[in-house]
C-alpha cells in the first residue's frame, strides 16, 4: 500500500490523502475577484474574457465571485446582462456564454456602483464580499484589480484600507495594479508610498501584460532550458543587442492619454526594459519568483542612467507625420483626436544603454519603440561578433555576423542567421535564415497574456509581475532622457513619415538597426 495512506487521521488535520501524488496542478484558493473600472474598455475586452476562459478551463476555483466596481449605475442583474453582451462580442468563438457553466458564472457576478473615493461605495463592497464569503464559500480571499485610470489608484487604495479590506484574519488580500505605475520617478514613488502603507510587497502584483505573453516567457526557456546559448551569451561573443517594439498603429482613441505619456513612458520604461532584463540577466538559482526578480533587478542596477549632457548622443526621438500604412493614407500625430496640435510628445523613442557588469561590459543595448512604423514587429536581436579570421568565401563575399532573433510579435518564434556555402565549385558564402515559429512549430494559440497573469495572481505567483525595486530603477534609468526631452522642444517634429522606418536620428544613433 502507498505510504501516504498511513497519514489519514481522525482529527482532520492531516493532508487530504486523495491529493497524495496527484499530478494535476492545484488551482487557486476560493476567492473573490474585485475589478475597479468594470464598466471600462479593458475590463470588457480583456479582463472579463480572460476570467471566463479561466473558469471554462478549470483554472478558477469552483468557489468564486466576481465583483465589478464602477461609476456607471448597474444593478447586479444589469451587470450580468452587460457581461453576457461583452462576452458575446469579445470572447473567442468556443467560449461564448452559454449552458450551465455560464448560468453558474452569472450567478457569481455582482456589482457595486460608486465613486472610487466614496467611502459609502467601499462599505457596500465590504458587505458584498462578506455576503460572498457566507453564500459562495470564497473563504475571505480577495484579489483587487485596479483597471481604472491611474489617477484614482491612490484613492482606491486608501479607501480599501479604511474599509479594512486590505487585511484578513483568515484568507489573503492581494492587489493587481495596472500600468503605468507612475508617470515619472516622483509620481511612481508617491504611488508606491500609498501602496506600501496598505499592502506589503508580497501582496502587490504590478501588471505589465507584455510579461504574460508566451514569447516573452520563451526568452527564459531558450536561455535556460538549452546549453548551447549560454557559453556565447556574453561580451566575448556578442557584439550588440537590439530590442524593438514597433507598431503600425497610431494613437487611435488614446490621444488624450498618449499626449501626456509618449513612447519613452508608454513602452521603453516598462515593456522594453523588462525585455532587456530578461535577455541580460544571470541564470536564476530556481524558477522561484524572487530568484528571477532578483536577477532582473541586478541587470537594471548595472545600468547607469545617461548623464544629462550625454542624452543627445545616447538617444533619439521622433514624432510621426502623415504618410501611408499598408497603402492607405494616415494623418500626422498632431492631427489625431485629443492631441495638442503643437505637441512635443515623442511617438518614437530610441536609447542606447550599457549593462556594466562582468558579462556585458562594452556591449551596447539599443532599444527602440515607435508608432506608425512600417511594420508591427517586436523582437530582440542578438548580433554576434564577426569571425576573427577569414578562411572561407570568395573575395567579393561579405560574411555577415551571426544573429539570433527572438521574435515576440507578430510571428512568435526564434530565427538564426548564419553563414553557409553556396552549392557549386566556388566557395561562395551567403547568409541563411533558420526560422522557427511557435505558431507553426506548435499548432496552438498561446493563452492570452491577461489569462495567464490573472491565474498567476490568484495562485499567488509573482514571477511575471514587476517588483517595486525594478520599477523604481527603470524610472531612474529613463528620467534623464525624459527630463531632457521635456525641457527641450524638438523643432524637427514631425520627423518621420507614417509607414517609414522611423526618424533619421535613430539611424545616427545606431546605423545597424534591423529593417522592420
Amino acid at each position: 500500500m502507498p505510504e501516504a495512506v498511513a497519514t489519514v487521521s481522525t482529527d482532520g488535520k492531516a493532508e487530504n490523502p486523495l491529493r497524495t501524488g496527484m499530478q494535476s496542478e492545484r488551482i487557486s484558493d476560493p476567492c473573490s475577484l474585485v475589478f475597479f473600472g468594470a464598466s471600462g474598455d479593458l475590463f470588457k475586452r480583456m479582463l472579463l474574457p480572460a476570467v471566463y476562459s479561466l473558469r471554462l478551463h478549470g483554472v478558477m476555483p469552483n468557489d468564486f465571485a466576481i465583483v465589478g466596481v464602477s461609476r456607471t449605475e448597474y444593478s447586479d442583474d444589469d451587470f450580468r446582462a452587460y457581461c453576457k453582451e461583452q462576452l458575446e462580442q469579445f470572447a473567442p468563438a468556443d467560449q461564448k456564454p452559454q449552458g450551465a457553466m455560464w448560468d453558474d458564472f452569472a450567478k457569481r457576478l455582482f456589482y457595486v456602483t460608486g465613486e472610487f473615493d466614496d467611502h459609502k461605495c467601499f462599505g457596500s463592497l465590504a458587505k458584498c464580499l462578506a455576503d460572498n464569503e457566507k453564500n459562495l464559500g470564497t473563504k475571505g480571499n480577495r484579489l483587487f484589480y485596479l483597471s481604472t485610470p491611474p489617477s484614482v489608484f491612490p484613492a482606491i487604495i486608501e479607501c480599501l484600507q479604511e474599509a479594512d479590506l486590505n487585511q484578513q484574519q483568515e484568507g489573503w488580500a492581494r492587489i493587481i495594479v495596472e500600468k503605468p505605475f507612475g508617470t515619472d520617478l516622483t509620481s511612481a514613488r508617491a504611488l508606491q508610498t500609498a501602496v506600501e502603507k496598505v499592502f506589503p510587497e508580497n501582496k502587490v502584483y504590478r501588471i505589465d501584460h507584455y510579461l504574460g505573453k508566451e514569447p516573452v516567457q520563451d526568452i527564459m526557456a531558450l536561455r535556460f532550458a538549452n546549453t548551447i546559448f549560454e557559453p556565447v551569451w556574453n561580451r566575448n561573443y556578442v557584439d550588440s543587442i537590439q530590442i524593438t517594439a514597433a507598431e503600425q498603429l497610431g494613437v487611435e482613441l488614446r490621444g488624450g492619454y498618449y499626449d501626456n505619456a509618449g513612447a519613452l513612458r508608454d513602452m521603453i520604461q516598462n515593456h522594453v526594459m523588462n525585455l532587456l532584463a530578461l535577455v541580460a540577466m544571470e541564470p536564476p538559482s530556481s524558477s522561484d519568483a524572487d530568484a528571477i526578480r532578483n536577477e532582473k533587478y541586478k541587470v537594471l542596477e548595472s545600468i547607469t542612467p545617461p548623464e544629462h549632457a550625454k542624452v543627445p548622443e545616447m538617444s533619439a526621438r521622433g514624432q510621426y507625420g502623415a504618410g501611408a500604412i499598408n497603402g492607405k493614407p494616415v494623418i500626422a500625430y498632431r492631427q489625431e483626436p485629443d492631441v495638442n496640435p503643437n505637441s512635443n510628445t515623442e511617438t518614437f523613442a530610441s536609447v542606447r544603454l550599457e549593462v556594466e557588469n562582468w558579462r556585458w561590459a562594452g556591449v551596447p543595448f539599443y532599444l527602440r519603440s515607435g508608432k506608425r512604423l512600417a511594420k508591427k514587429n517586436s523582437e530582440i536581436a542578438v548580433t554576434f561578433k564577426p569571425i576573427p579570421h577569414r578562411i572561407y568565401g570568395e573575395r567579393t563575399d561579405t560574411i555577415e555576423p551571426d544573429v539570433l532573433v527572438m521574435k515576440i510579435q507578430p510571428d512568435e518564434g526564434v530565427a538564426m542567421r548564419f553563414s553557409a556555402k553556396v552549392p557549386g565549385m566556388k566557395a561562395h558564402i551567403r547568409s541563411v535564415f533558420m526560422d522557427f515559429n511557435y505558431g507553426t512549430g506548435f499548432g496552438v494559440q498561446s493563452p492570452p497574456a491577461y489569462e495567464r497573469l490573472i491565474g498567476d495572481a490568484m495562485r499567488g505567483d509573482q514571477t511575471l509581475f514587476t517588483r517595486w525595486d525594478a520599477v523604481e530603477r527603470a524610472w531612474e534609468i529613463v528620467m534623464p532622457v525624459l527630463d531632457a526631452w521635456q525641457n527641450t522642444k524638438d523643432l524637427t517634429f514631425p520627423n518621420y513619415a507614417s509607414g517609414s522606418q522611423g526618424p533619421e536620428s535613430a539611424f545616427k544613433l545606431f546605423p545597424g538597426w534591423r529593417p522592420l
Partner: protein, 325 residues
C-alpha cells in the same frame, strides 16, 4: 510477404526537397489500429494532436492491406503516413517503425486494439517506444482490456505506459479530492460507508474505485465490499451513459453524502453537491480536457511513470478479481 516502406521513404524525401518551409518535429507518433479498430474519430483526434505537436505520424492500420498507403508530407505541420499492415508480422512492423522513425526524436506509440499482452505485435512495438499509450475502453467496454494491461505492466515494469482511460479520470479525481480539502469534511473520508460509480464502460469505473481504494487503504473483500480502516465500505458500479465517460460518483458516510455528476443539460459541466452534516451550496465545475487529443497529450508530456496510476491499476485488478473472478 514483406512490408516494403521504401516507396514511403522516397515520397518523404521528395516532399522534403520540394518544400520551402522548415520542418519542426517533436516526435515520431506511431499509431497502431488493430483489425476492425481503425476508427475515424481516433484518426481525427490524433490529427488535432499532431497539429499541436508537429510530428511524423505513422499510422499502422491492420484493417487495411498493404496497397493502402498514404503519405501526406506537408498538408499538416508534420508528416502523416498511413500504411495498411494487415497480415504483417511483428518483426516486419518493428523494421518498418525503425526505418520510418525520425532520428533524435522520441517515439510515442498509441495502441488502439483489443489485446495487449496477448498480441505479439504490441510486445514487439512497445519496447521500441519511449512512451506507450493504450486505451482500455476504446475497443471494448468490459473489464478484460484492463485486466490485460495490469498483467502487462506487472511483467514489463521497464516500459513507460499510460492508459487514456485512467487519464480521463484526472478531472474527476480533482473534484472528488476537493470535497475533502476542508478539514471538517476530511473526517468523513474515514467514515465513508458506500461508493457508487456510474460510467459507460468498465475501465473508468474500476480505475476510480482502484484510485480511491489505493489512497484510502481499502482492500476488496468480495464483489461488493472493501475493508477500510474505519469499517466496511460497500461499492456499486452502474453501467450507464456513453462509453468512455464517467457520469456520476457518489460517496456516502453515515452523516454526509458527496455527489459529483455530469449536468443533465450540459455535458461540459459537473454539479457538485454535499448533503448532510457538512452540507454546502451546490457548485459547478467545468469538465475539461477529456477529449482523446488532450489525454494523449497529457500522456506524452508526463515522461515518467505515475506511481498513483500504477497503484490504482494494481488495485483495480484486485477489485476485478473479487468482482468478476
Amino acid at each position: 510477404m514483406s512490408l516494403d516502406v521504401h516507396p514511403v521513404l522516397d515520397a518523404l524525401a521528395k516532399s522534403r526537397q520540394s518544400s520551402d518551409s522548415m520542418k519542426t518535429s517533436t516526435m515520431t507518433f506511431a499509431i497502431f489500429f488493430g483489425e476492425g479498430e481503425g476508427a475515424d474519430w481516433v484518426r481525427m483526434r490524433t490529427r488535432a494532436l499532431a497539429e499541436k505537436h508537429p510530428s511524423r505520424v505513422i499510422v499502422f492500420d491492420a484493417s487495411k492491406g498493404q496497397d493502402d498507403r498514404v503519405v501526406e508530407p506537408s498538408k499538416t505541420r508534420g508528416e502523416w503516413i498511413e500504411i495498411g499492415v494487415r497480415g504483417a508480422s511483428p518483426q516486419e512492423l518493428e523494421a518498418a517503425l525503425t526505418q520510418l522513425a525520425l532520428h533524435d526524436a522520441p517515439v510515442v506509440l498509441l495502441w488502439i486494439a483489443e489485446a495487449l499482452s496477448a498480441d505479439e505485435r504490441f510486445l514487439v512495438l512497445a519496447p521500441r517506444a519511449d512512451t506507450t499509450i493504450c486505451s482500455t475502453s476504446v475497443a471494448r467496454t468490459d473489464e478484460r482490456p484492463l485486466r490485460d494491461l495490469s498483467m502487462f505492466v506487472e511483467r514489463h515494469p521497464e516500459i513507460m505506459i499510460q492508459d487514456v482511460a485512467y487519464l480521463r479520470l484526472v478531472a474527476w479525481q480533482e473534484l472528488v479530492a476537493e470535497f475533502f480539502d476542508e478539514p471538517a469534511c476530511r473526517r468523513e473520508l474515514l467514515a465513508l460507508r458506500s461508493v457508487e460509480v456510474t460510467a459507460g464502460s468498465d475501465a473508468e469505473m474500476y480505475y476510480l474505485l482502484g484510485w480511491l481504494a489505493s489512497r484510502l487503504a481499502w482492500t476488496p473483500i468480495d464483489g461488493q465490499t472493501f475493508r477500510a480502516p474505519g469499517g466496511n465500505v460497500r461499492y456499486t458500479m452502474i453501467h450507464d451513459g456513453p462509453p468512455r465517460r464517467l457520469t456520476k460518483v457518489v460517496l456516502s458516510s453515515e452523516h454526509a453524502s458527496f455527489t459529483a455528476a455530469v449536468h443533465p443539460e450540459d455535458q461540459n459541466a459537473i454539479c457538485l453537491d454535499v448533503t448532510g452534516s457538512t452540507a454546502c451550496p451546490s457548485r459547478f465545475a467545468p469538465l475539461h480536457t477529456v477529449d482523446l487529443a488532450s489525454l494523449v497529450e497529457r500522456a506524452i508530456l508526463a515522461r515518467t511513470r505515475d506511481p498513483v496510476f500504477i497503484e490504482s491499476l494494481a488495485m483495480a485488478k484486485a477489485i476485478i478479481e473479487r468482482h468478476v473472478g
